[in-house]
């Protein structure tokens, strides 16, 4: 189960969180009230060039000091505050969400093409692996993830997502099967600028996890979705693949199809499959991945989970259900279902 919905405005026109809240709620039967969340891009214009690091704290004493020490070792906290929340009946507040606006000292990560990203990645892994009682759940620039255990509307009201304005939204309603519903396990999963929502189960998780761990990513969330964010970071940021190519590596064409391709494409696709065989994902899934300038939707190679695309004016929608898209935009005319494994990409033009 699980319901996903994402929307991008190609002109970066801002949308507040109210309609995405409604769209997600319409898919309530896809969830079990154990997890929901929202990711919004463009929400921190005042700190747009700083990393917005969101942390769940079990208490505001030991873990918080440790996280702040770590942040200060690697850079400067320019501003921080508790993420405002409003108690909801269905949500038991077990963590305190906190946010930092952070500037890494790039000279501390030499020999990297993207030192600031590397520093933040390192901090995220370090906190999630080693600091008990703290969990980084969002770490990109000018973006924020807001998630908790609860129903979509409760989580939205808990954070008052309608107060945030973004040009790209992702949202997820969870029906957990592999792990109990806990705050960290709710989607979207985020690393740096990547946010991922996922419906399904990745049967290749064991392979993917071992693969990604050999590149220095530590999987700590007990759930299959986090590897998708890490794989995108590895393939696109570090290995320089385009989003489309990355999706091709994650959900590659069957050999049969590859054999029918023109020679050049065949060579290319074979190389991709051989090199990134351990990154390829198996099992039923529909996934949407957001980055600051794009949203990508794709499903597994035999399409065991639903995925619907809607397009209208400057907006592209990706969802589990047409009804969710229509909740946001009732005038929408172009709605279609992409082919299995085929990436649908919406990009900003500015």
């Amino acid at each position: 189960m699980c319901g996903i919905i994402g929307v991008i405005d190609k002109q970066r026109e801002l949308m507040d969180g109210s309609s995405i809240r409604d769209a997600l709620s319409i898919m309530d039967e896809r969830g079990s009230g154990e997890g929901a969340g929202y990711a919004a891009y463009g929400v921190y214009p005042d700190y747009a060039d700083l990393y917005a690091i969101h942390v769940f704290y079990d208490n505001l004493v030991e873990p918080k000091t440790q996280v702040e020490d770590l942040l200060e070792t690697w850079g400067m906290i320019e501003h921080d505050e508790e993420i405002p929340t409003w108690e909801q009946n269905g949500i038991t507040k077990i963590h305190t969400p906190w946010r930092y606006f952070f500037r890494p000292k790039t000279r501390l990560m030499q020999r990297s093409k993207t030192p600031d990203d590397e520093i933040v990645k390192h901090i995220v892994m370090e906190v999630n692996k080693s600091i008990k009682g703290a969990l980084v759940f969002s770490s990109g620039k000018n973006i924020g993830v807001f998630k908790a255990s609860g129903w979509p509307e409760e989580v939205a009201d808990f954070y008052r997502v309608e107060k945030y304005e973004g040009y790209l939204w992702l949202a997820h309603n969870r029906y957990p099967t592999n792990t109990p519903g806990w705050w960290g396990g709710a989607h979207p999963f985020n690393l740096l600028n990547w946010s991922v929502v996922h419906n399904g189960e990745i049967t290749s998780y064991g392979t993917n996890r071992r693969y990604i761990e050999s590149f220095g990513y530590d999987c700590t969330m007990y759930t299959d979705t986090e590897v998708v964010a890490y794989l995108m970071d590895l393939l696109v940021r570090r290995h320089g693949l385009t989003q489309e190519l990355a999706v091709r590596a994650l959900a590659p064409p069957f050999w049969e199809e590859i054999e029918r391709m023109p020679e050049n494409e065949q060579k290319f696709t074979t190389a991709l499959r051989l090199t990134y065989g351990s990154a390829m994902m198996n099992g039923p899934f529909a996934i949407a991945v957001a980055s600051p300038d794009s949203i990508v939707g794709f499903s597994d190679r035999i399409k065991l989970r639903p995925l619907v695309i809607g397009e209208h004016d400057n907006r592209i929608f990706i969802s589990s259900e047409e009804a969710a898209i229509r909740t946001i935009d009732s005038a929408i005319s172009r709605i279609y279902m992409p082919k299995a494994g085929h990436p649908i990409v919406g990009r900003t033009v500015t």
């Binding site: 189960e201 290749s204 390829m280 198996n282």
Partner: protein, 503 residues
């Protein structure tokens, strides 16, 4: 002092009421158990090795063979086998030999691992309706791909892939040399692998002309004896394998007795007829990992960098570190042979007491290579003790790219694992060079049997993958999540890096 004779192992009985005195048992038993006398078939039970050839050929089902119990005074420590070994050595003063794999009483780890299957939350995939991909590429892969982006927004690939072997199933047949086994056995397996689209090893005995038609599916071996190795041989193989060690006898070399070196074998091995073929324990040009690297590179150079080079080692305690060294030597694949690996002949003390099981070895090697971030760049082939398709699936989950089978392929051709291959009397025409015995194996029929076996395992593997919700072999490789340990202690679970059942 005369120790006297030891009890016979088997009792061969011919049912006089059934026997029609056709004499087939006399003809078929290469160990001279049967004799035709006017009063009927007489047996010399003591010679029997339980190869079951007579039974398989008797038209009247007149023969029965039983393990013949004969109790010594029972003792938990000084078992019958220990005592008999002492008797033998007290008489001979020699090393005891044994054929086939480890016969020790170690638990079989494969049998303590269970595979996974999907239920509600995740659909299993039906291989009859959905594509299931078992194709595997063995060889070096780049760590990452490099592209150039042309102004027209076209991406083109800069990275050149090095040659890989393309396998339509992750099951190959490992190295058994011409000499140790017969030419008909070789032909049968070669034909089978070329029809399936997989590969087999030549063993260290060179490549016989009769196998040239199958050379695109043969992996040629370079062992310390360098038998049959010249550039023509190297060029004929689809890949080259340097053999350092073998699971059945880690740390020691090979020995093909002169009696088995007939004219044809002598020619293929490039050694004089009738001479013993000895491959020493070490390669005399390899005393360090740097030396190995040089050999890997020279073999590549000799074949113009067109062929993958594998290195085969026995699974030993430090196998992970050794494999990591091999991975960095430029080798395209590391072959790990577990202590259940078969052999024509090995000192039984080695066969039964040296080395470690393939399950643990593969898990440890995979883990080490991942830790060093190089797992993706080299392939792992697991061998030694693969008895069924479930073992293949489990080996892959533990980290292997593909497996080699050996004994299983022989069994498919009739071998009964009697373990007396070293005597050269194999009644099935497999492990022998005696012309009359060799002709017993029809290469076409045997090829069909081997092909059927690998086809059947491949189907089963596809079903197992489908049940686990996986439709390509890449996603099974190293997927420890799809395995659980049953009745394994924590330290073993840690080595295998699998959870216990129920977890």
């Amino acid at each position: 002092m005369i120790i006297g004779s030891r009890p016979t192992k088997f009792q061969v009985v011919v049912d006089k009421n059934q026997c029609m005195l056709c004499g087939r048992c006399v003809e078929n038993c290469s160990y001279n158990v049967f004799r035709m006398e006017p009063e009927g078939i007489i047996t010399n039970t003591r010679n029997c090795v339980a190869c079951h050839r007579c039974i398989s050929q008797c038209p009247r089902d007149a023969i029965s063979i039983k393990e013949r119990p004969c109790d010594y005074r029972s003792h938990p420590v000084w078992t019958a086998q220990i005592k008999e070994n002492i008797f033998k050595q007290a008489e001979s003063g020699k090393i005891l030999l044994g054929g086939m794999g480890n016969a020790g009483q170690y638990p079989i780890l494969f049998d303590h691992l269970v595979l996974d299957a999907c239920q509600v939350t995740n659909p299993s995939i039906d291989p009859l309706r959905e594509p299931m991909e078992l194709r595997t590429y063995i060889g070096k892969k780049p760590k990452q791909l490099e592209f150039i982006q042309t102004p027209e927004e076209d991406t083109s690939l800069v990275t050149e892939l090095v040659p890989n072997l393309k396998l339509e199933t992750p099951i190959m047949i490992g190295h058994m040399s011409y000499g140790a086994i017969s030419l008909n056995a070789h032909k049968a397996m070669a034909k089978a692998v070329s029809e399936i689209g997989t590969f087999m090893g030549t063993g260290e005995g060179g490549l016989h002309e009769a196998l040239y038609p199958y050379q695109n599916n043969m992996i040629v071996q370079v062992a310390s004896g360098r038998f049959g190795v010249d550039v023509n041989y190297l060029e004929r193989g689809a890949a080259i394998e340097i053999k350092i060690g073998q699971g059945a006898k880690p740390g020691i070399g090979g020995h093909l007795p002169g009696e088995k070196v007939c004219a044809d074998v002598s020619c293929t091995r490039m050694i004089p007829e009738g001479s013993d073929a000895i491959s020493p324990a070490p390669h005399h040009d390899i005393y360090s990992i740097e030396d190995l690297k040089q050999l890997v590179l020279s073999l590549k150079e000799a074949t113009e960098w067109k062929k993958p080079v594998f290195v085969k080692i026995a699974a030993v305690h430090n196998v992970a570190a050794i494999a990591a060294g091999i991975a960095r030597s430029g080798a395209d694949a590391v072959v790990i042979d577990g202590f259940r690996g078969g052999t024509g002949a090995a000192p039984s003390v080695f066969r039964d007491h040296v080395g470690i099981p393939i399950e643990a070895a593969v898990a440890a090697v995979d883990a080490k290579l991942r830790k060093q971030g190089i797992r993706n760049e080299v392939s792992i082939i697991a061998s030694g003790g693969i008895r069924q398709s479930a073992d293949v699936a489990k080996a892959i989950c533990l980290g292997a790219d593909a497996v080699y089978i050996g004994t299983a392929a022989l069994v498919a051709m009739g071998c009964r694992v009697c373990g007396t291959c070293y005597r050269g009397l194999c009644s099935w025409g497999i492990a022998t060079q005696r012309p009359d015995l060799v002709t017993r194996l029809n290469p076409d029929e045997a090829a069909n049997n081997v092909k059927n076996l690998i086809d059947a395992w491949t189907l089963e593997l596809a079903e197992l993958m489908g049940a686990a919700g996986i439709n390509s072999i890449e996603s099974l490789r190293g997927n420890r999540d799809r395995l659980r340990g049953y009745m394994l202690d924590q330290s073993m679970l840690d080595v295998l890096d699998v959870n216990a059942i129920g977890a």
